[in-house]
Each structure stands twice: as C-alpha cells, then as structure tokens.
C-alpha cells in the first residue's frame, strides 16, 4: 500500500486497531508478536475478538488485561507447560465468550478469507464432540461425489498483528523459519500491521523475493522492533526464553500474579523491556 511507512508501535495500533475489532495474532510458536500485542494492552483496547489456530501466552495476557471479549481458536495454552490460566478464569466468570475450532479448520477459515470465498469444504469436524459445540456449523455435499463435508466458514479479521524478520519501508515482509498459520492469517485480514527485527532496503528484498511472504500492497504499517517477539523467538536472531513461559505459568495462576507480570513486562517502555531480557544468552545471530 502506498501509504505504508515506518511507524511506531503506538501510532500503528492507534491508526489501525479499533475497539471491537477482530484481531488475528501471528506467531505459531515462532515470532509471536509480543511487542504489538503488548501495545494493544497499553493502548487500552477493548472488546477485541482475538483469533488464531494455536494461541499461546500472548493471547492469555490480552485476556488478563481485559482487552478481549471473545476468543476464536483451535488451541489455547502455554505450550508444554500448562493451560491458559487467565483464559480459564475468564470463561469461568463469564467475562469472555469463545468459539472453538481445530488447528486445520482455523487455517481453512483464514484461507477462505484470504481467497475471498465464504467457505471451504473439509474432511474434519464431522465426528467427535467438536462439531456440536460450534454454533451453526453446517455441512455440504460435494456436487460431484455426494461426499459429505464440513463447510468451514471464512473468518476475515479486521486486522492482523504479526512479527517477522524483516521488511522494507514499503511493507514487503520477509519471514523464514516456522511459518505455521501466520502468513495465511495475515493475508486473510483487512489490514496488516507488521513489526520486524529490521527494516531493510528494498534491494535486500529484491535479492530474495521468494522469502517475501506478504506483498507490500497488503500491508498497512511496518514497525522496526528488535526483539519484538520476545519471549518467543525469531529464527536466525534469538531463541525462545523457555524459562519465561514457565514463569508465566506460575505467576498467571492467580489474578494478582498475572497483574504483576503485566505490570513488569507490559507497563514499561521499550528500553526498560529490553534491559530485562538476557540478550547475551538468547541471541543466536
């Protein structure tokens, strides 16, 4: 998009995320957009519907911070550590609603939107108890074979927030390593906000165009935010801070604990945040 340009996190979020928006969160384990997500919390966004396939602790933090009215997901938890405690509390006390799919059906919901069709047929959500708890899930028959398939409805988020290795100023986004559903979720969305480890000259992008996962004309704003995926990781830059995830599990077991965690890690400026990271230990570049 012509108007794309280097923006601060605050300005990007102020311009492109509105209360009530459906927000796709990028990051399938890799390159989880913590910096952008935390900016949503600082900006006091409300009534967001957050969505992705496998949602980890960033989703839980947005819920804990009161930004979220609903979650659309295939999985939500703290990978290999435990459950999403703030999510659990929020559904127990009725403060949020949720809509529960599977990872493949979430990918198909996003793919349908990326491709501009209202649904895609699939061979899942036809058995087990999952289909019964999705309000209004319908089936279709293949007009050629008669086979019964699930009709997976498109999900077009208002805005995607994602993190990646690099982009140029016009918004060509390059990402490598684990992709998961990050790219399809961004492509599905009306607006895309990207934070990157580094903004590079367009000549760098043009030297490796196959690594460009999102073309510039789709991107609304690009922010240069080194370590913007911490405590998750960025392939080729820094590794995952597994201890941070374990620590979050411990602290998030109580409302007070999670509030303390957010106070420490979200209610701070970027320099203070960076100073708390053991960058020497985690850097891989």
């Amino acid at each position: 998009m012509t108007g794309t340009s280097r923006r601060s996190l605050a300005l990007s979020v102020a311009e492109h995320v509105h209360d009530g928006d459906t927000v796709f969160l990028g990051g399938f384990g890799h390159a989880v957009p913590f910096a952008l997500g935390h900016e949503l919390i600082r900006a006091g966004k409300r009534d967001l519907v957050i969505c992705r396939s496998g949602a980890d602790i960033l989703a839980d933090q947005l819920i804990a911070a009161g930004c979220v009215s609903s979650v659309i997901f295939g999985w939500i938890g703290n990978p290999d550590v435990g459950i999403a405690h703030a999510f659990r509390r929020a559904i127990a006390d009725g403060s949020i609603t949720w809509e529960e799919w599977t990872n493949w059906s979430m990918v198909l919901r996003l793919q349908a939107a990326a491709w501009g069709v209202p649904y895609l047929p699939a061979k899942v959500l036809l058995a087990g108890d999952g289909p019964a708890v999705i309000d209004g899930l319908l089936r279709v028959s293949c007009p050629y074979t008669g086979e019964e398939l699930a009709a997976i409805p498109a999900l077009e988020p208002d805005v995607a927030i994602i993190h990646a290795q690099r982009a140029d100023e016009s918004g060509n986004v390059q990402m490598w390593g684990v992709i998961g559903d990050t790219v399809v979720g961004a492509l599905a969305s009306k607006r895309i906000i990207v934070s990157v480890e580094e903004i590079v000259h367009t000549s760098v992008i043009e030297s490796s165009p196959n690594l460009t996962v999102i073309p510039a004309h789709r991107v609304a704003a690009v922010c240069e935010v080194p370590w913007g995926a911490y405590p998750s990781y960025v392939e080729g830059a820094y590794t995952r801070d597994d201890d941070h995830y374990v620590e979050y599990d411990r602290r998030s077991r109580t409302p007070e604990g999670v509030a303390e965690h957010l106070e420490r890690w979200v209610n701070v400026d970027r320099d203070a945040y960076l100073s708390m990271i053991d960058r020497h230990r985690l850097a891989t570049a």
């Binding site: 384990g29 890799h30 396939s53 290999d80 459950i83 999510f87 061979k123 036809l126 087990g128 999952g130």
Partner: protein, 241 residues
C-alpha cells in the same frame, strides 16, 4: 540402568513405526518415540510437525511444535496448510498422540474435564489432534499411567477413535487407534475396544489396568515386552534424563 516411565512408553511406541513412513508428532513423549525410531530402526522416518515442518530431527526436545528445535534441522519448512493438506489428502501414514483422557474406544479428550460449558477443568482444546485423529492412516496413543486418565467414556471426544459399536465413526478415515501405550502395557483396539495385549517389564494384568474406570478384556496370549535396548536407552537419554 532401568528405563523410566517415559522411556518404556517411548521405546514401545517407537517399535510400532515403520521405516519410510511419515509420522505426525506432537511435543513431549510423541516426539521422543518418533526420535527413538528415527535414530534406530527407521532412519527414513519423516517426522511431521503441524507448524509446517517435515523431516526435522530435533536435537533438544521442543516445547512447542513451533519451537526453534523444530525449525533447525528440518528439511522442509512449509506452513500449516501444507502439512494439514497433506494429512487431509491421506498422505501421512501414522501419528502419535496423547491427551488428558482416553477411553476404552480410543477416543481422546484434550478439551474439558466435566461439562463443556461449565467445566471442572478447562484444557487446551484440540489443536491438530481432532484433525489428525480424523484423517491419519493410523494412530498410536501414548499416556502416562495415571488412572484418572483411563475412563470408560471421555468427557469430551476431541479426537475420535471408535464409536460404541467398535466402528470408526462416519466422517473419519484410516484405521483409527491401533495401540494405547503406557509405561505398564500396550493395549490394542482389535474390535474397536480396548484390550490388553502386551505387558511392560515387571507388570501384570492387574497393575497394567490398575485404577482404570472400566474393566479391560485381556488377549488370549499376552506378550511380554522387552525393555528398551541399550541402544534405545542411549538415544533417549538426552531427552529423558
């Protein structure tokens, strides 16, 4: 050196993987089992992670299917669409799954303990488990021996095994679960119903089914499993010790 529970489970599961297969794996014991096979009798096993990774051989055990060790050493990093599309097209032979609960029909629950809208414990949800159980060629289930996890009917069928008639439900394909592997035994699903088929070293039928919430039929001839070999123990040591 005696094998611990994870080692007994992983080694027994590994032996059920054939060389040349593509194997959908999750984090934890499923990854260890696949790696034992890969480093042992099945060097051409392809590990597949839902994050889009094929052919990865993690050197450290990933905490997430999107972890750094899933990416490094992968021979192909596609995306979720590539992996799940391949799965839906019937091109992944086997998967190793685990869950919070398993029942006598091989159904897995990773969604809720209790009622769905008013759960006692809200769990993580399906992730790819429903998709895999519905679509893969066959499934191996690995579980710790925690009696609360073995129930007659799971509270929520996240990942379908067999229905109460012992058949694969409509809307699934593949042979479904072929084994439930624990540190105490291997159970089969011959008629779509759990049956004790082999015992881990030091266990008998009583201890293998201790605390199960239902009675378990026993095969006419129950095998005695060999403990993990020295080689298998060496392979596993870096992740389990």
């Amino acid at each position: 050196m005696h094998a611990n529970d994870i080692e007994l489970t992983s080694a027994a599961a590994a032996r059920m993987l054939d060389d040349g297969e593509a194997c959908f794996v999750g984090i934890g014991t499923p990854s260890i089992a696949a790696l034992v096979a890969k480093h042992g009798h099945a060097p051409n096993l392809t590990l597949v992670y839902e994050s889009g990774a094929y052919g990865t051989v993690p050197s450290t055990l990933p905490m997430s299917t999107g972890s750094p060790s899933v990416a490094s050493g992968a021979s192909c990093l596609g995306d979720c669409g590539l992996v799940f599309g391949d799965l839906q097209a019937g091109r992944i032979e086997v998967a190793i799954l685990s869950a919070a609960q398993v029942d006598r029909f091989g159904n897995l629950n990773s969604t809720v303990i209790g009622r769905y809208r008013t759960p006692k414990v809200r769990l993580v949800g399906s992730g790819g488990a429903h998709d895999i159980a519905s679509l893969v060629g066959r499934t191996l289930i690995v579980m710790p021996h925690d009696p609360r996890r073995f129930v007659e009917h799971v509270d929520f069928v996240t990942a379908p095994g067999f229905d109460r008639g012992g058949n694969r439900p409509r809307g699934t394909r593949g042979t479904g679960p072929v084994a439930l592997i624990t540190p105490r035994a291997v159970f089969g699903f011959g008629g779509g119903d759990l049956r004790l088929e082999a015992l881990q070293p030091g266990h008998d039928a009583a201890s293998a089914t201790e605390g199960f919430g239902f009675s378990v039929p026993i095969a006419d001839r129950v095998e005695q499993l060999e403990p993990p070999t020295r080689r298998e123990m060496e392979i596993m040591a870096r992740w389990t010790r």
